[in-house]
């Protein structure tokens, strides 16, 4: 999965968690938290949805790596790659 595809995965999750947010104007290099009302409960949900839908594990120490869409792409793409090479 490319980084752009990974970002799309994250955006899909955010769209389900926060359907009341407008995601069309999101900048991929700005912290998600600064562009939307996302609190720690919502971030926990992004992590848990990644596990539920895609089997991706994000340890708590790495939560900061989900700060922006770009950093999500960089951090998660290798995890998706490792997963697909296993299967």
């Amino acid at each position: 999965m490319t980084q752009d595809e990974v970002k799309k995965v994250v955006l899909d999750i955010i769209a389900d968690i926060a359907p009341d947010e407008d995601l069309s104007q999101l900048k991929s290099d700005v912290r998600l938290r600064d562009q939307m009302q996302l609190d720690s409960m919502d971030f926990l949900d992004i992590v848990m949805e990644l596990r539920k839908r895609h089997g991706i594990e994000v340890p708590e120490a790495d939560y900061l790596k989900l700060a922006t869409l770009d950093s999500c792409g960089e951090y998660l793409a290798p995890k998706f790659a490792a997963l697909s090479s296993k299967s």
Partner: protein, 480 residues
């Protein structure tokens, strides 16, 4: 149906807190079952049918209402966490509410879902207090009310830093206490902040068909997520081995094993189920003098006409008190009719629609020790007498009915602390739970947690958030 006897999580009680926790846990793949002793879900926020009418038990109004564009409030968090679209709750906004204090120094505050109305009536009625009031609102807005570890702080003392007139102080405390204080006279400032925001800075709304609309949404979400539910199936014991809960024993004697137990039935009520009881490291002295639990009596009158046709105006909820000082404590008489809450469920904006009949609800503080266990004949006689006393008192705060209430009365019902205890199991009918809250939900056992009234988030929205936050904090976040 195949019933399992082993779950990741057992939830005790199918009220708002238990259902919300169940939705979260089931959504994230936990095998979860809710056990409910009663035949209906909802707990303190349920409903019942009588002669073809459906009555809400607890719900006057859903507090914490904000419009969709207002972000970052409890209602929005709740909808997100439960993946509920706000239209599913079909919330209709209140018209307007009031705080009316009678007697010589009588005064009236009005409030609605627009905080500007309260501010303008404070400015008009208490011109010397308006700067203090604005300061108080600022203090409330910047307070972190969801911290799970804050200690007790007197709300009265904080409010007095801003408000000097004791009449205004009591008029602000009256609704806040009636809609969510488990402690008499004073309350924890964090609780005050939660309720002040819920009532005055956010607001009231209601689905046209009452609390069952909300319950239906929760039950359906829970079912879709794969959660199981067993009704008329009480838990009589939490089974303990080697200092941990290993499961529960049902009223039928059946044993269910579980890795976690989440209990919404109250702190003391949960402790009583834990068997064998854990040995406490040291006998802890009580942190503060224990207050008696607070309970209420409520009357429901079905009217021949809509309140508007009776000239009762736009008031949705009226918090009343007949003197300058407001006493919020367990009364020494069966019902303290000096103050109370009037609810006119017709006075929400149902968008051109309306309720089929006029309804008048009155709630007052009541003494559980009078009502609980009273012989039936005497109980019925007392109910009739106190029903009448509550109407007489409340009607002083509504425009007079020329023919009196009797000719307007189609049907009546009343519930007391005994009714509440009988149907919900909450000791002494304490709808706001025990005075001492356990904000982090911990119990004597590492894998038994509390949610609901005794955890400390109150009201319908608070109850659901309690279930959500305890499920997140103790089970989902911790165990990955």
């Amino acid at each position: 149906m195949n019933r399992s006897s082993d779950y990741d999580v057992v939830i005790i009680g199918a009220g708002m807190a238990g259902l919300a926790a169940g939705i979260r846990l089931a959504h994230f793949g936990r095998r979860v079952c809710i056990f409910e002793r009663h035949n209906a879900s909802g707990g303190l926020n349920g409903f019942y049918s009588l002669d073809g009418r459906k009555y809400d038990v607890g719900l006057h109004a859903v507090t914490n209402f904000v419009r969709p564009e207002v972000k970052g409030t409890p209602l929005g968090k709740l909808l997100r966490q439960l993946r509920i679209d706000r239209s599913e709750f079909a919330l209709c906004e209140q018209l307007r509410s009031a705080v009316r204090f009678g007697g010589e120094a009588g005064a009236e505050l009005l409030f609605s879902n627009d905080p500007a109305l309260l501010e303008s009536t404070v400015a008009a009625q208490f011109p010397r207090e308006i700067d203090g009031f604005r300061g108080l609102v600022g203090r409330v807005r910047q307070h972190d009310d969801v911290a799970l570890d804050s200690g007790f702080r007197s709300a009265r003392s904080v409010v007095r830093e801003f408000i000097r007139d004791p009449l205004l102080e009591d008029m602000l405390f009256c609704p806040v206490m009636y809609y969510g204080s488990a402690t008499p006279e004073d309350m924890d400032f964090s609780q005050f902040v939660i309720m002040f925001k819920a009532l005055f800075l956010e607001g009231f709304a209601r689905p046209r068909d009452g609390v069952r609309v909300i319950l239906r949404v929760l039950l359906e979400k829970y079912r879709q997520a794969g959660g199981e539910r067993r009704m008329k199936c009480g838990v009589r014991r939490i089974i303990v081995r080697d200092g941990r809960a290993v499961g529960v024993e049902l009223d039928s004697g059946e044993e269910i094993t579980a890795a976690h137990v989440l209990s919404s039935i109250g702190s003391e009520e949960t402790s009583r189920l834990i068997s064998p009881a854990p040995k406490l490291e040291s006998a802890e002295p009580p942190r503060s003098p224990r207050h008696p639990r607070l309970s209420f009596a409520e009357t429901i009158t079905i009217l021949e006409h809509q309140p508007a046709e009776l000239g009762w105006g736009d008031d949705t909820i009226i918090f009343f008190n007949d003197g300058p000082r407001f006493d919020y404590r367990r009364p020494s008489v069966p019902v303290d009719v000096r103050s109370g809450v009037i609810c006119l469920p017709n006075n929400f904006n149902y968008g051109g629609d309306r309720l089929p009949e006029g309804v008048l609800r009155v709630t007052c503080l009541a003494d559980p020790s009078f009502w609980i266990g009273r012989p039936d004949a005497e109980y019925q006689t007392s109910k009739r007498a106190w029903y009448a006393a509550m109407q007489t008192s409340a009607l002083r705060f509504l425009p007079p009915l020329p023919g009196g209430l009797e000719v307007e009365t189609r049907e009546t019902d009343m519930f007391t602390p005994w009714t509440i205890q009988r149907y919900t199991g909450h000791v002494e009918g304490a709808i706001y739970g025990a005075p001492e809250k356990v904000r982090d939900g911990r119990t004597a056992l590492a894998n038994v947690y509390l949610c609901g009234t005794d955890q400390g988030f109150l009201g319908i929205i608070g109850a659901m958030l309690s279930g959500i936050s305890m499920a997140n904090y103790h089970i989902l976040a911790r165990n990955g």
